[in-house]
């Protein structure tokens, strides 16, 4: 099982990044062993379609579940098509978010939680 978390930094003490498509890092981890790897989010500076590209990156990394703050409509469609389950509403550090996820306190999302393009820093 691969769990991805959008993060502002590259370790488990980093804060969760509430943006999905334009987050700084993805931490991809096995919740059972807590072993993880970090990838820089290549879609962060995309001129358009950051959420779509980020979903592509996660699918290519064989991610099953995602913890993030919000997903827009394009990202939601792409993640769903890739069979990735989305858990939103997390905050705090990556470690805290994983703990909540394990305790079943994060809700699975069945729809976009924000309008598109809101992660753009313009």
């Amino acid at each position: 099982m691969n769990l991805a978390i959008s993060a502002t930094g590259d370790d488990l003490e980093s804060k969760l990044d509430r943006r999905f498509g334009r987050c700084s890092y993805f931490i991809i981890l096995d919740p059972d062993t807590m072993e993880f790897e970090t990838i820089q989010n290549a879609s962060r500076g995309a001129s358009s379609g950051a959420g779509v590209k980020a979903a592509q990156i996660l699918a290519d990394s064989e991610v099953d579940n995602l913890i993030t703050g919000n997903v827009g409509p394009n990202a939601y469609n792409a993640l769903t098509a890739a069979g990735i389950e989305i858990f939103t509403g997390a905050s705090g550090t990556v470690k805290e978010a994983i703990a909540k996820y394990k305790e079943g306190e994060l809700s699975r999302t069945n729809e976009p939680t924000t309008a598109g393009g809101t992660g753009k820093s313009r």
Binding site: S43, A46, S47, S48, G49, A50, V52, K53, A55, Q56, A59, D60, N74, N77, A78, A81, A82, G83
Partner: protein
Amino acid sequence: MQITVSAGKGGTGKTTVAVNLALALSESHSVEFLDCDVEEPDAGIFLKPENENSEPVTIEIPEISEDVCTYCGDCSEACEFNAIATFSENVLVYPELCHGCGLCSRVCTADAISERSKIIGEVRRGSTGSIDFYEGDLTIGEPMATPIIRDMKKKVTEENISILDSPPGTACPVIESLHGSDFALLVTEPTPFGLHDLRLSVKVAREMNIPVGVVINRYGIGDKSVEDYCEDEGVPVLMKIPNDRKIAELYSNGVPFVNKFDNWKGRFNQLFEEITRIVNPRAKSVEV
């Protein structure tokens, strides 16, 4: 001769300058007017074109045949705009992100991509007196203005004078409006805001190797910083339009002020002569 009237800042008077210039020149030249501000075309309010007919503008959107697609992901990788996502068992196209460049179908080795036309707006053509009038109009909900501007610019003829009314700013629609122009006539107001955005416009035009000149509108308000900048940078100030209540009243009634003030017709013709001299310095004189 293609003159694009542009500005970094919105609301400086691009349309006012473009419309009055076109009307003043149209008495002795063949003039085409192109309203390239396709997100909010409003030059028609002043020029009141007649006999308009419209043509749709389309871009080519990929359609992927999943029977043939091998889900290799080459198209997604090639797409600069992230308009295609490929997963192990499906592929998604996002038409609103697609710029219609056609690269995806070129890189597809499985021949799974065909293209379909999608209407994103229209170009309307009409006439105002002797002026050929064109305006682009982007369909609401469509994000991309540049294909409409590009389509409209195909109507530009070399032998006539083309006045292009550009959108404000420095992004793609402005670049598309300026592309291929002989001259960029930059309209600004004499304020710190006007100066800030004028600097950007001058940089863009210089990057594109297009000669520039400035019109200061609402002259008399603000400060001298725009004039000081132009002097320091060697940017010619070709016209100053005073902050005049009569001009403002005509504007608010949709009346181009050259239609009421004959002396301004002459000034816009002089402006054009100066532009011609800058564009083509070896020409001895210009017939007006």
